[in-house]
C-alpha cells in the first residue's frame, strides 16, 4: 500500500531568479513541512532536461544536501518526458518492497535557462538520436506528422482538434500553478503561428520552469490525500516509422492493459494526461478507450471530457498545454493534482466527489508510457 501524504507545486513560470536546486528545494520543503532528515528514507528526483540545461550530474544528491537532507538515500530517475511518473513508480516500488516507508519524490526542470532555439534542439533528444533524431525535428515535428495523419485518416478537420487547447485553457484559468491562465477560442488556435504545421503554437505547451514534490508513505495514518494504488508502464517502438499504425500509442495501450489486469479500476472521475501536443492528448484518450478511434477530438469538442460532461474530466489542471510542461517535473505535478482532486482540495477547477483518478505520462511519440491509478481515501 502506498499513500500520497503531502504534495506541493511551484507555479510553472519562467523562474529566472531560481536554479534547479532552489526550485526543487522549495517544492520539497513545502511538501515535507518540518520533517527531519531521519524521517525520510529516500529522495527520488525526476529530471530530464537538467542533463542538457544545467548539466548537473547526480542531481538527486545535490538536491538532497541543498534542501537540508544530507544523509538521506537519493537517486535520480530519467525517462524523458515520462520521468516524473517513472520516479513515482520507483518510489512506490521502494515502499511496496518494504525498503522504505517514507519517500520524497521531487520533479524539477528549467526550460528558461536556455534560449528557445537550444530548447528546440534538446527536444529532438526525446526521439531516437541515432534514428529520426539526427534530423531537425524541432518542437513538434513528429507530433505534426501524427496530427496530419490523424486528420487524413479519420477525416477530422483542424478546427475540431482546436477544441482541445481551448478546453485546456478554460480549465487552467483557476489553477494558481498554471502558466497560462487565460481563455482562448478554438478559432484562435488556428490563427496562431504555426509551430510544426499542422500544429500551431497554441497546440503546444509553454516553455516554463517548475518543480513539484510528493511525499509517499506506506501507511496513510489518516493524513493521506489519496492512495497510490498502482503505477504501470511499458516501452514502445523507438519510432512512429516502425509502427504499423502510428496513430496507436502501443506502449500506453500495453501499460493500461497491465494496470487493468493488476487492479480493478472503477469509474474514473478525473484524468491528468500528457498533452504535449493536442494530437498526443487525443491519441491517449483513444489508447485508454475513452473514445472510439478517430472520435476523441469530436468528443472533446462536444464537452464529453469537460467538467459536467458525460466522461471523466480530463486535465482539470489545464494539462501540459496550459499548466505547462517542465519536462521531468510534469508527471509529479499530475500526481499532485489528482491527489488533491481526490481529497477535494485542488485549488483550481474542482472535480466534485471524485474518487478514482488516472495520470498518464508519455515520452516522445510513445517510446515509454506510464500510467498511475489513484483512489480517494475519504
Amino acid at each position: 500500500m502506498a499513500y500520497i501524504t503531502g504534495v506541493s507545486m511551484i507555479n510553472v513560470d519562467r523562474h529566472y531568479d531560481k536554479g534547479v536546486k532552489k526550485l526543487a528545494a522549495e517544492a520539497s520543503s513545502k511538501a515535507l513541512e518540518d520533517a527531519e532528515p531521519e524521517a525520510l528514507d529516500y529522495i527520488v528526483v525526476s529530471s530530464s532536461f537538467t542533463y542538457a540545461s544545467d548539466t548537473q550530474l547526480d542531481l538527486a544528491s545535490y538536491i538532497a544536501s541543498y534542501s537540508g537532507f544530507r544523509g538521506v538515500r537519493a537517486l535520480t530517475v530519467e525517462a524523458g518526458e515520462a520521468s516524473g511518473l517513472a520516479a513515482v513508480g520507483v518510489a512506490k516500488s521502494l515502499i511496496d518492497s518494504g525498503l522504505a516507508s517514507r519517500v520524497l519524490v521531487v520533479g524539477v526542470d528549467k526550460l528558461s535557462d536556455r534560449p528557445t532555439w537550444e530548447v528546440y534542439r534538446y527536444f529532438s533528444k526525446f526521439y531516437d538520436v541515432e534514428g529520426e533524431g539526427i534530423y531537425s525535428i524541432g518542437m513538434g515535428g513528429i507530433a505534426g506528422i501524427l496530427m496530419r495523419l490523424y486528420m487524413e485518416t479519420f477525416k477530422v478537420d483542424r478546427l475540431t482538434l482546436a477544441y482541445w487547447p481551448a478546453l485546456m485553457h478554460s480549465n487552467a484559468k483557476l489553477n494558481p500553478y498554471a502558466m497560462l491562465r487565460f481563455a482562448i477560442t478554438p478559432e484562435k488556435v488556428l490563427e496562431a503561428p504555426p509551430l510544426a504545421d499542422p500544429i500551431t503554437l497554441l497546440d503546444s505547451f509553454p516553455l516554463g520552469d517548475g518543480a513539484a514534490a510528493l511525499v509517499i508513505e506506506g501507511s496513510g495514518k489518516g493524513n493521506a490525500l489519496a492512495e497510490l494504488v498502482a503505477v504501470e508502464s511499458a516501452t514502445g517502438y523507438p519510432s512512429i516509422a516502425l509502427v504499423e499504425d502510428p496513430l496507436r500509442i502501443e506502449s500506453l495501450e500495453r501499460a493500461y492493459q497491465r494496470l487493468t489486469r493488476k487492479v480493478d479500476i472503477k469509474n474514473v472521475d478525473v484524468i491528468e494526461l500528457h498533452d504535449s501536443f493536442t494530437i498526443m492528448g487525443i491519441l491517449e484518450l483513444e489508447a485508454l478507450r475513452l473514445a472510439e478511434r478517430g472520435k476523441a477530438a469530436e468528443a472533446v469538442s462536444r464537452g464529453y471530457f469537460s467538467l459536467g460532461g458525460e466522461g471523466p474530466v480530463v486535465n482539470p489542471s489545464g494539462g501540459l498545454k496550459a499548466r505547462g510542461h517542465p519536462i521531468g517535473a510534469t508527471g509529479v505535478y499530475q500526481v499532485a493534482e489528482v491527489s488533491l482532486q481526490l481529497a477535494g482540495e485542488f485549488p483550481g477547477l474542482k472535480v466534485p466527489e471524485s474518487n478514482h483518478g488516472l495520470t498518464v505520462s508519455v515520452n516522445g511519440s510513445g517510446s515509454n508510457a506510464y500510467i498511475a491509478y489513484l483512489r480517494s481515501v475519504r
Binding site: 534530423y135 524541432g138 513538434g140 504555426p194 504545421d197 500544429i199 516509422a241
Partner: protein, 134 residues
C-alpha cells in the same frame, strides 16, 4: 557548437549514407536504422539490406520550431516516407510548403544533415525530395 560526437557520427555513416536497414531473419520485417535486435519480434538474427530509394509521402509536418543551426533551411519539412518494405522518417528537401502533399512520390538524395558549428564535423546522409516532372 551542437555537441555532436565524432565517433557517433562515424558509427552511423553506413546506414545514413546508403539507407542500410535491418531485416529480421525470423519475422522478415525490415527496420531503419538497423538495430541490435528486431524491434518487432525481438529476434537477434538480423541481416543488412539496402532500402529502395523511391517512396511515397505518408504524412509530413512543416517545422518552424528549429534549432539555430537549421535556420537556413527553415521551415524544415519532416516526412514519414513509405518505401514499400519499410517506412522512414526523413527531412524532405528541395521543397517549400507549397510543393508538398500527402501521397506524393519522393526520392532519396544525399545531403548534409547537420554540422557541428562552423569548424566541426559535417554529417551527411540521406534525405528525400519530391520527384519532379521534367
Amino acid at each position: 557548437m551542437t555537441g555532436l560526437s565524432v565517433p557517433a557520427v562515424w558509427r552511423g555513416r553506413i546506414h545514413r549514407y546508403r539507407l542500410v536497414a535491418g531485416k529480421c531473419n525470423s519475422c522478415g520485417r525490415i527496420h531503419y536504422p538497423p538495430s541490435h535486435s528486431c524491434p518487432h519480434c525481438g529476434s537477434r538474427g538480423l541481416a543488412e539490406v539496402e532500402l529502395p530509394r523511391m517512396g511515397r509521402l505518408v504524412s509530413y509536418s512543416i517545422v518552424y520550431s528549429v534549432p539555430s543551426e537549421s535556420r537556413s533551411k527553415a521551415p524544415v519539412i519532416l516526412g514519414l516516407v513509405d518505401l514499400g518494405v519499410a517506412r522512414v522518417i526523413s527531412e524532405i528537401t528541395d521543397a517549400g510548403p507549397e510543393d508538398i502533399s500527402v501521397g506524393m512520390q519522393v526520392e532519396a538524395v544525399f545531403r548534409r544533415i547537420t554540422e557541428d558549428g562552423e569548424t566541426g564535423v559535417l554529417v551527411y546522409g540521406v534525405k528525400f525530395r519530391p520527384v519532379k516532372e521534367a
